[in-house]
Amino acid sequence: MSFINSLSRESWINLSLCIVLCAVPLWAWLSDQPFTLTLCTRVAILALAGVGLNIALGVGGLVSLGHAAFFGLGGYAMGILASHAQSYTPLMEAPFLLEGTKSMPLIWLTAMTVSALAAVFIGALSLRTSGVYFIMITLAFAQMFYYFAISWLAYGGEDGLSIYVRNGFPGLNTLDPLQFMLLTYAVLALALWFYHRLAKSSFGLALNAARQSPARVQAVGITRYNVQLVAIVLSASITGLAGALFADLNRFVSPTMFSWQTSGEIMVFVILGGVGRLFGPVAGAALFILLEHQLGGLSEFWHIYLGLLLLLVVLFARGGIIGTLAGREQANG
């Protein structure tokens, strides 16, 4: 009884979201609608990308308009490894043999590592500046990857790369929509758990404080640059993992994953759901997919309504769905 009393409003909302996100696929599975299962998988993967961004943006206040760079790197890590595996040609033969792979765990590890490395480079440069410069620089670097992917004809260039068979995960039949969905749900749950621990940890406290008062953080002996760089790297790895999963979902990778539209979209669902909130990206991704599905069916110009909604949220309901429903965040405990 006291446990129920101690749950905050936000926890109730999160719980409700979980229930809905489990009920919908359950109904879809029982009534044999694999398309809906795929939609739920999409929500989970986009939410995962948003959880990554939320670390840098929500906790750290770092407005990265270039997170598509990591999303795309994750996708291309999958595309490159899988395409070499499916054509039985190695990636390189000298100085050592590097073959492709269709194993998801290996692909995920690669995706996260590549994204993290790119984040070290991009973060180290962008953190030398602040404010508006940071926004422009992150956007520019993502664009760089976009043009790079377009001109790298070996992997499809502008047309992208198709992977004929979904990659494998030990013990699962990933071609089965339900199993793949459950796999992505598991990954999302893990990421949410990580975000939750991080936000409450010493690192999270320091990162959040660095956002609010750089002078304070310096005065207590914390180097802001280091904290923010680590935050960007962690943030990038998770978004990169989402990119690999996204590519696997669609069995297709293209430069669009690096585009400014993708960066914008990831940020939009984090904001719509509630920036800095644990389930913000989940609520936002669900809303986004819902709008895309419902409104998109009504009008091919549904982006206008998305734009209007975003404008209204930014001007009048800054906390997004969860912020508006749950009120101020619970800080301690």
Partner: protein, 249 residues
């Protein structure tokens, strides 16, 4: 003869044509409160920033606890035990009182890169934080958002965060600013006790507090240190009266 904790030697700094600090030397000895006074524009803030590490001097040295810290960053100086409070409260406004103090504790102990353990469940950090809050009298407000505190409470919190660093010396920039009579008295009594744990370099305009607290006073005018001495010596110093105390009337 008490040991020197903090020693400023020949510090000079100019901004284009303006000489903000001109060959300043002073010492903060163990167990003392050393007040730094001077009219507005004298260069007190500039000097404080060079001591805390926010500004690099053009010439001169800063020694702390026997170590030359002139080349060290503000972050490193804080880790070495030099605690600074700000004239305009610099706190994480969205965080609670407790979170601000825990931040101080974890920063000083270099425990930043812990990702899984909740900071507020860490026994060591919590002990330090709660002790600091109790000493300044804010323990009942531990869960209050900093933005909701009164001005006086925020000044108390600034001091609490400095305490949580478990520092070897304090540099306090106008801690009395904006405090009413009661608040000033409480802080004065508090600082009088605190000096025995760690010496305090105190920048202040509140002359009652200065004369009540200071073991020694240094007077800064137009970037130059014109006098250093005990309260009596400074009170009787003609130059000081002319340059500063005279203007006060």
């Amino acid at each position: 003869m008490a040991e020197s904790m903090l020693s400023v030697q020949g510090i000079s700094k100019s901004f284009a044509a303006l000489q903000a600090s001109n060959n300043i030397s002073l010492e903060l000895k163990k167990g003392e409160i050393h007040a730094l006074i001077g009219p507005n524009g004298a260069g007190k803030s500039t000097l404080i920033k060079q001591i805390s590490g926010e500004l690099k001097p053009d010439a001169g040295q800063v020694l702390f606890n026997g170590q030359d810290i002139t080349a060290l960053s503000a972050v490193k100086r804080a880790r070495l035990g030099l605690a600074r409070t700000f004239q305009i409260s610099s706190l994480a406004m969205e965080d609670t009182v407790l979170q601000n103090v825990v931040l101080g504790a974890l920063g000083a102990r270099g425990q930043v890169f812990r990702f899984f353990r909740p900071a507020l469940h860490d026994a060591t950090l919590m002990d330090i934080a709660e002790a600091a809050l109790q000493r300044v009298g804010l323990e009942s407000h531990a869960d209050t958002r900093t933005a909701a505190l009164s001005h006086g409470q925020r000044r108390q919190l600034e001091v609490a965060v400095a305490l949580s660093l478990q520092p070897k010396a304090f540099v306090m920039d106008e801690p009395m600013a904006g405090l009413g009579g009661g608040g000033s008295k409480r802080l004065t009594d508090f600082l009088a006790e605190l000096r025995h744990e760690a010496p305090i370099l105190l920048v202040e305009h509140d002359m009652d507090a200065v004369f009540a607290l200071a073991d020694r006073i240094s007077v800064l005018v137009y970037g130059e240190l014109i006098a250093t001495g005990t309260v009596e010596e400074i009170r009787n110093n003609a130059e000081v009266r002319r340059a500063y105390l005279g203007e006060e009337e």
